[in-house]
């Protein structure tokens, strides 16, 4: 059953358990524009987010391209110093606030939370739509700030630079971020209440899929770690499904999500070790930052143990999940260098930092997002994409990513500071590597746009459970789901990931 062939057709292997009652689903039951723009259906809202954040991702990616192009040569040939500042600020703001933070929670979370817990919708459907429009309004305000002339402070808006010295459109941008912040707070609030109040009969807390645990933890603590936490949830789902095995250490993975959320809330001062904070407080924050590594490590080892002895199939989502594992581990371990007070003094504000957080946020979070989009694509659209192109893009992304960001670890260690548009000649070789890698990465990220769009219109039809998943969205809904998700309310009698045999993914009747 495990196969490395690029042409494997997993979706033939698993029987269609739900069957198609009729051809009405949430995508085609109403085609009017207003039915999309004013929809209260969590699945359609998820798709609205998908389209919007993809556009933002392209914009942020283009800015990243401009930054790498400038850094191809030691002198400032392509951008002026001022434009460069504005470019990396815009890149950071767009990627963090308008892509990464909403990516998995708003797209996959919206689509999946009610499906995975056997509910008809989220707890507050109108609030959900409001969240989308707040996100949209925030995006418009932020883009307005960029069009007016941009912001040059870096996405962190450190004072007093951003308050006293910057002449750019800081206030407009801050308003935009404030609005978009409300959007994610309201989405998180909605998910919390949904998970508490809307679970179907029999679905106890410890029968929840691990994705739900991750989303729940993310919603509770809306902070930096919200960028990586949802990816951890996606990875748990993908690894369980494609290893055909119960997740090793279900409870401890669930609790480690909560632990990461809690620790993530109390590490903020690790950005400020060099800013003159009290050395005693710095020690406390260093210790707390180290502590984040414990639940993260637990998760990685649990995933490895899940795969051990499993019947692994190498489908596109799994390849992305593998990429995630490798990059997240490197990103996490280099984080330990930075939480060490002494080392941090040396590495602070160098390219080491840039490499570290890109390994976590791009290598980790976006790989997880891509794994999730590929895994649930048949459920979302009812169509299969090309496995060949899927695997190819996963491979190219992984290679391109490492080419781009690994040289930056070395650059940072050698002392190249971040946020400069020029650099000494001796750094050029590694910067050329990095820029070359970025162009490979760009190809890797662009490919899904084409083959996914193709599959949406011309792809082979997916059955209700092409990958043999064991959670409710696979076992109890059609692909794509009907407008009201379930024909009948599911009743859950077992834990998730209960694979009875190697092949039997679901109890088929």
């Amino acid at each position: 059953m495990a196969t490395v062939s690029l042409e494997s057709k997993t979706f033939d292997k698993f029987p269609d358990v739900v069957g198609r009652h009729d051809d009405t689903n949430y995508l085609n039951h109403d085609h009017s524009i207003t039915s999309w723009l004013f929809t209260l259906d969590h699945k359609r809202i998820g798709l609205l987010y998908l389209v919007t954040i993809t556009l933002m991702f392209l914009l942020g990616g283009a800015l990243a391209g401009a930054i790498r192009l400038e850094l191809l040569t030691p002198k400032g040939d392509f951008l002026t110093a001022d434009t460069y500042n504005k470019a990396f600020t815009a890149h950071g703001i767009i990627m963090l606030f308008f892509f990464l933070i909403p990516s998995i929670p708003a797209v996959l979370g919206n689509f999946l939370v009610p499906l995975m817990i056997g509910a008809k919708d989220v707890a507050f459907p109108r609030l959900n739509l409001l969240s989308y429009y707040l996100y949209f309004a925030g995006s418009v305000i932020a883009l307005t700030a960029l069009l007016l002339g941009g912001v040059d402070t870096g996405w962190t808006f450190y004072t007093p630079f951003s308050s006293t010295y910057s002449n750019s459109y800081v206030i407009v941008m801050a308003v935009g971020l404030f609005v978009v912040g409300f959007s994610s707070i309201l989405t998180g609030l909605n998910f919390i209440i949904t998970v508490h109040r809307m679970r179907c009969p029999g679905l106890t807390w410890f029968r929840l899929p691990l994705f739900i645990w991750s989303i729940y933890a993310t919603s509770v603590v809306q902070l930096v770690y919200i960028m990586i936490l949802p990816s951890l949830g996606v990875t748990s789902e993908v690894i369980a499904t494609f290893s055909r095995k119960n997740v090793f250490g279900y409870h401890i993975i669930a609790f480690s999500s909560i632990a990461i959320a809690v620790f993530g809330f109390i590490v903020w001062a690790h950005h400020m070790f060099t800013t003159g904070i009290s050395p005693y407080a710095a020690m406390v924050f260093s210790l707390l930052t180290f502590s984040v590594a414990i639940p993260s490590g637990i998760k990685v080892f649990s995933w490895l143990a899940t795969m051990y002895g499993g019947s692994i199939s190498f489908d596109t989502p799994m390849i992305y999940a593998f990429g995630f594992l490798g990059l997240f581990t490197i990103g996490g371990l280099t984080g330990l260098f930075l939480s060490t007070l002494g080392t941090d003094i040396h590495l602070h504000d160098t390219y080491f930092i840039v490499a570290h957080f890109h390994y976590i946020m791009v290598g980790g979070a976006i790989m997880g997002y891509m794994a999730g989009i590929h895994y649930w694509w048949p459920k979302i659209t009812g169509k299969m994409y090309s496995e060949f192109w899927g695997k190819l893009s996963a491979g190219i992304t992984f290679i391109g990513f490492n080419f781009t960001f690994f040289p930056q670890f070395i650059l940072g260690y050698l002392g190249m500071p971040r946020r400069y548009y020029e650099y000494p000649d001796e750094f050029q070789v590694l910067n050329v590597f990095s820029t070359a890698g970025a162009s490979i990465l760009a190809i890797g990220y662009s490919m899904p746009l084409f083959y996914m769009t193709y599959s949406f219109f011309f792809g082979e039809k997916a059955n209700s459970n092409p990958y043999g998943g064991s959670t409710l969205e696979w076992t109890n809904t059609t692909s794509p789901p009907s407008p009201h998700n379930f024909e009948q309310t599911p009743v859950v009698t077992e834990e998730p990931y209960h694979y009875h045999g190697k092949e039997a993914a679901v109890v088929s009747h």
Binding site: L189, M198, C200, T475, E487, Q488, T489, P490, T493
Partner: protein, 274 residues
């Protein structure tokens, strides 16, 4: 997990009840679950918490100047507003109670009375802010952290006001600018500027916190108005009144914020007397 349609049919009878239980009330009941409002208030606690944290740190660092600066605020107006806001909390509680007992008419009335108290609060606040602005307490261009002058001016204004009150007159003149300038001892120099800046932080926090609080009240007026309209339409009953309950929670939260703001902003320097 095995959750199949057959399982559902097996439990058909029992389950039918659950189905209605879980799905039908969704549109109406869940849309107004008080738990959602509580969770929102949690984020509000942290929202105000940021300002309270800033306040705490500077209160600790610049204790003496914070107490002195606080003395420039009008305790009478602050206390009056505290009473007004607690009254409005009472009327709000009564509105919720009326909706529980099914008295739509009085639900609407108590809600409107709550708005009226809220408007009174903001009216007092307006008078107060205007006065603060006149004596240059507003940390803007006119505050003039640039020099010691405005701070001396504000002190003098406060003294004259106290004098006037002692004589029993509500009106009092503002100090002559030249007098203050003459009083200003240049030797105070650096220390004066530092103190002036510390006091400026106090007033910055004062204006930020009170205006954020006032902003919440304005939002509250709109929401209470809408709920009051629906109450008059008879939309609520003892079985379904959670919108009233939710707006009540929100309003009480606004009250709680003020309960903390009042002593922290107004009463710091009261013991120093005048």
């Amino acid at each position: 997990m095995s959750a199949t349609n057959e399982t559902v049919q097996d439990h058909g009878q029992h389950h039918h009840k659950d189905l209605a239980h879980h799905f039908d009330p969704l549109e109406q009941q869940h849309a107004a679950n008080p738990l959602g409002m509580w969770a929102f208030l949690l984020t509000e606690v942290l929202f105000f918490g940021g300002l309270f944290a800033a306040y705490t740190i500077y209160r600790y660092k610049y204790s003496a100047m914070f107490e002195e600066a606080s003395n420039h605020l009008d305790i009478t107006l602050g206390a009056t507003n505290t009473v007004i806001l607690i009254l409005s909390s009472l009327t709000m509680a009564l509105a919720v109670r009326c909706s529980q007992t099914g008295n739509s008419l009085w639900t609407g009335r108590w809600l409107l009375i709550t708005i009226a108290f809220g408007l009174m609060f903001l009216g007092v606040k307006y008078v107060e802010w205007k006065h603060d602005y006149h004596i240059h307490l507003m940390p803007g261009k006119d505050w003039s952290g640039k020099d010691y002058w405005h701070w001396q001016y504000a002190k003098k204004a406060k003294d004259m006001e106290t004098e006037a009150h002692k004589k029993g007159s509500a009106e009092h003149a503002l100090p002559d600018r030249k007098d203050v300038l003459a009083d200003n001892d240049p030797s105070l120099g650096v220390r004066g500027i530092q103190e002036s800046q510390q006091a400026r932080l106090f007033f910055l926090l004062y204006f930020c916190m009170t205006s954020l609080h006032a902003l919440h009240m304005l939002v509250g007026f709109v929401l209470i108005g809408i709920i009051a309209y629906f109450a008059y339409q008879g939309a609520y009953s003892p079985e379904y009144y959670s919108p009233v309950e939710n707006i009540g929670l929100y309003w009480h939260f606004v009250d709680i914020v003020w309960i903390f703001l009042f002593p922290l902003l107004y009463l710091l320097g009261a013991h120093m007397g005048h």
